[in-house]
Symmetry: C2
Subunit: 416 residues, 2 copies
Amino acid sequence: MKQSQIFTKTQKENPKDEKSINAILLQRAGFIYKEMAGVYSFLPMGLMVLNKISNIVREEMQAIGGQEVDMAILQPKALWQKTDRWDKGIGLEVMYKVKDEQMEVGLGPTHEEMLTDIIKNHIESFEDLPFSVFQIQTKFRKEARAKSGLLRGREFIMKDFYSFHASTDDFKDFYEKAKQAYLKVFERCGLKAIITEASGGDFTKDFTHEFQVISEVGEDTIYYCDCGGFSQNEEVFDKKVTKCPVCGNELKKAKSIELSHIFSLGTKYSEPLGAFFTDKNGVKAPIIMGCYGIGISRLMGVIVETSNDSHGIIWPKTVAPFACHLLPILSGKEEQDKEILEKANSVYNDLQKKGIGVLYDDRSKKSAGEKFADADLIGIPMRIVVSQKTLEQGGIEIKERNSDNVKIIKLEELHV
Amino acid sequence: MKQSQIFTKTQKENPKDEKSINAILLQRAGFIYKEMAGVYSFLPMGLMVLNKISNIVREEMQAIGGQEVDMAILQPKALWQKTDRWDKGIGLEVMYKVKDEQMEVGLGPTHEEMLTDIIKNHIESFEDLPFSVFQIQTKFRKEARAKSGLLRGREFIMKDFYSFHASTDDFKDFYEKAKQAYLKVFERCGLKAIITEASGGDFTKDFTHEFQVISEVGEDTIYYCDCGGFSQNEEVFDKKVTKCPVCGNELKKAKSIELSHIFSLGTKYSEPLGAFFTDKNGVKAPIIMGCYGIGISRLMGVIVETSNDSHGIIWPKTVAPFACHLLPILSGKEEQDKEILEKANSVYNDLQKKGIGVLYDDRSKKSAGEKFADADLIGIPMRIVVSQKTLEQGGIEIKERNSDNVKIIKLEELHV
């Protein structure tokens, strides 16, 4: 894509009302726009990143059998009253509510009620179980602390995933599969996630884990051991424990950001909502459920928060809006510039033909310094420069965003 | 995909609270679930159709240069006050409003204000123009008449598209391009759309057209000529006109469903919101805008409304959830059934290898009659049957959903 054709521009100054690095860099680079605290719009390159993250999540959910749906945002009051959450807990504390002449509804902060109500119309016997359902959708939560860019939103994008089982054993098997799928998601997004024992919140205390990433700006605190044998959220940590029960080393304490929370729901929703199945003996029983969330827009924020330098964002290849950023650097001399642009055009066409995503900085009025600064801010993993110097050396200059090494190579030597 | 793995089931009975064909068939076939009047969830096969429609729209918008974004649903009150629409017009009549301790916001029924506010921070001079921006997003509107399934929703999916220009001539050129792109979208979705002169609603009267599809359940009435030379919405029609001004034939009158509305916005939003550019002479001028909408979920409803029979839905190939529906019909005799299933499995594997979408009715307890009835209801374009009879004849039986012709062919003769 040609950079001149993207309507967004970079900003040199930090936005005045933001303190978090993800909000500052994503706005300066033109990925997001702040509508109000905790509410952001995603601009063209921001949406590209969001879609790449969503697709990684989608692939891993489908790999363990997840079926994708898109449920309504508007939540019927009657449904939430059945589980006693309309006037209590999440329904009281974080759900926005809306009225018109004919109805009162909530804006979905989570979808246990709605999905349980849907599936009960489709499930009859143990032969219809197990299965799992996910969606990637905009969610809404009242949020007094919306001060961390994409890390904590009033409006945010979430992948919520629910599983349905005939037995606790079957749920436990699936829970382990989901854990592994989540580790793959975060690894593919370039993040080192720590699986942490946590408190169940609204839910049960068995089978509840969070996926945490260590970060100074995190709101959580975890105690963990590098050996992987121990990790607990401060909420459930017994301060008398100081050493890892597995390897005996001293435990570490760190601030961290919660990427994900997974937990057992048991029959908390299936019973009040009437989601029963007939078991092998012909006996009716409530369906056993599990729930597995990932904040998709938060994940984008976390990636920026943990992968940046003083010049800008450093996108991992897997979620970058483009694989390459192509910068022709003009000399001001007509004949040489013609040659530089011809070479740059041929590199552009060649990469496109190979299906490699490339952002082509075709802006003729920008200086070399401005182009380099923008490239560092935007953070595309591979920078390709075509200039008088590179032509003289018979090639193109490449530099990875996360390294200072500059190399001159021939186009055919480029591997992205 | 194996049918036994999709959690939805078909229903034999029509839902009691629905009168419109699209709502009845889409629910019976398991594509959507009704949460309340005008609010539906999209189940796995429903989301597949929705995604296919969205991708057709996306491709045609990108083909004329549209850049995709995803703007916030929550709308700042201050922004809508600047255009005087918070307490008047659409903001008063159809926008849901929500409060918490810190803010009052609307749920986006349309995004002129928000996008104009975003782009004004990125546009400086005529050199930054023209460009166009679209999103595919859930919208909300208060709706007393939400009785037609996906045709009129309180919560619905819309593609909204906005263009930005330095001159009226440039806008006019783009408006024609958008018209042609829209015709392509509807043609690819299997719909014959009529471009109709319409009233501008909230907006200007110049350059406003609707795309209408003739249907008995439509809420609009149009006067038109088959020659294509004349078509007007009743709202703007002069009843004294009885003959086509182009070919002289008698005009026809019909009920129709509005698929899309496109119109000039002029400087209605750019002026109050301060979206100006510097022209070639260094003079500041407000940006000229156009607006182009398509109801994505409505489009899904219109396709069903105009393409069905007494047995169920007839999906056009381009938006069908799968290209083929594979039905092994068992005989009850062990040896023969083994052969039937082996053949069906090999057809399934072969189609999947070729990248052809196939729904495999692997449900062993369903009778031939139940399988055929479900296939007709779900409406996948091509039905493939493997049975004792087809094996004896050395092949598979194929039947298109919109035809009664049945043919026995060899697998290698199948072209989808």
